[in-house]
Symmetry: C2
Subunit: 209 residues, 2 copies
DNA sequence: AAAGATATCTTGACGACGTTCAGATCAATG
DNA sequence: CATTGATCTGAACGTCGTCAAGATATCTTT
């Protein structure tokens, strides 16, 4: 779970190049976009030679996966915060959805790396669906709290999947120009997200506010 | 002179290299995947020099957009066929959704190119939302036929957007390994898609079968 | 039919990329 | 203090996107 954090686990040559490379990659990603995220650019940003990363990552892919890992952790934190501040379970589902899409909108390049690597492996990372308090379980538990029948196991899994897919779909499309007039009509982006979620089966309709 | 296919609009040097390049790109995409789709590989597949494509496309991006255009046309046809064979308007929404996701599953590389180019431009292509019988309008009309109030213009737009985003989200996630056990539990992939759609707000619940 | 204009394609080159490998450098161990 | 092994550099290879210059085929004009 917890990788090296402070500069004491890896008192190596550079200090902690692995960490430095991930940070450099995030910096390049944010300032130059996903298309500029080359291994050489990351090495340049970190101040090392183009071959240096290969002592910490097998591949460019492996570096991207580390960056994505960082992203899933951030997303998880954002969802946890959203769930914590929701007044009711029914509203928590909407809050989760809005927080999810907002995260994607605020970190578009990172979000893209997260799902690009996932699709390449046809596999979602463990942070999302692995242990007890993964993001997936967070959504599922919220659904149960909102009134879903906990004895209908398959149904709950399907509803959780539906919610996740819906949020992901909106997250990927939210940036398209075509939706600008809808955002305006709704009175802002967040309001637009909320409105779209109202039309998705996120939570049983009679529970929605 | 040998004619490759029904092309009289461009009796040029090669016959119709533009068309040949798009076809070659589709072939490469299908057999080698999106990561192998380089301009040079396409030119190789078409039997021309690496610089030849630049007389028909400004960019690699422009070639990819042409390939994507092809994809949107195919998707549109698939949706039209699904809508045509649906017995009722309410079922038509489910049929549309399933057809959409099945298309993405059967042409994963193409589907990825379609949305990658769209996201790069932050713009969906005209084929999807442009004129009267675009795919977007097809979904919206189906919604109205299924009982949505046609006087609530904003609501209908939002519902259409919600449906599209939901379908796209499921289409992108459908390949993930995590969902295999759900597909098995539902008795196949199509059944899984239908079941997930049941949990999305695709169509007013009282109308769903 | 000849000739000039124009569109198409090839050749060759440039810089950037991912990756590898031999060698240099530095931290820790015995 | 010498050895070892991990860490980093430098140079190289093949591939990529792209461009400029030249060759070649088609179209137009006479």
């Amino acid at each position: 779970m917890r990788e090296s954090q402070a500069a004491e686990a890896r008192p190596y040559h550079h200090g902690d190049l692995r960490r430095a490379l991930i940070d450099a990659a995030s910096r390049v990603l944010e300032s130059e976009g996903p298309s500029a995220l080359s291994l050489r650019a990351v090495a340049r940003e970190a101040g090392v030679s183009p071959a240096a990363p290969y002592h910490h990552f097998k591949d460019k892919t492996e570096l991207l996966e580390a960056v994505a890992h960082e992203g899933w952790t951030l997303l998880d934190a954002a969802l946890a915060a959203a769930k914590a501040k929701a007044p009711s379970a029914a509203e928590a589902m909407n809050e989760l959805g809005v927080a999810y899409v907002c995260f994607a909108r605020e970190n578009p390049a990172l979000y893209r790396v997260m799902y690009d690597t996932a699709r390449d492996r046809e596999d979602l990372p463990d942070e999302m669906q692995g242990d007890k308090d993964s993001a997936y379980c967070k959504v599922r538990d919220t659904l149960v709290d909102a009134g879903a029948d906990p004895t209908e196991a398959l149904d709950i899994e399907l509803a959780t999947t539906a919610a996740w897919c819906s949020a992901h779909g909106l997250a990927e499309m939210a940036g398209f120009k075509q939706f600008q007039h809808l955002k305006d009509a709704c009175g802002g982006e967040r309001a637009f997200f909320k409105a779209v979620f109202q039309h998705m089966g996120l939570v049983p309709k009679h529970l929605a506010d």
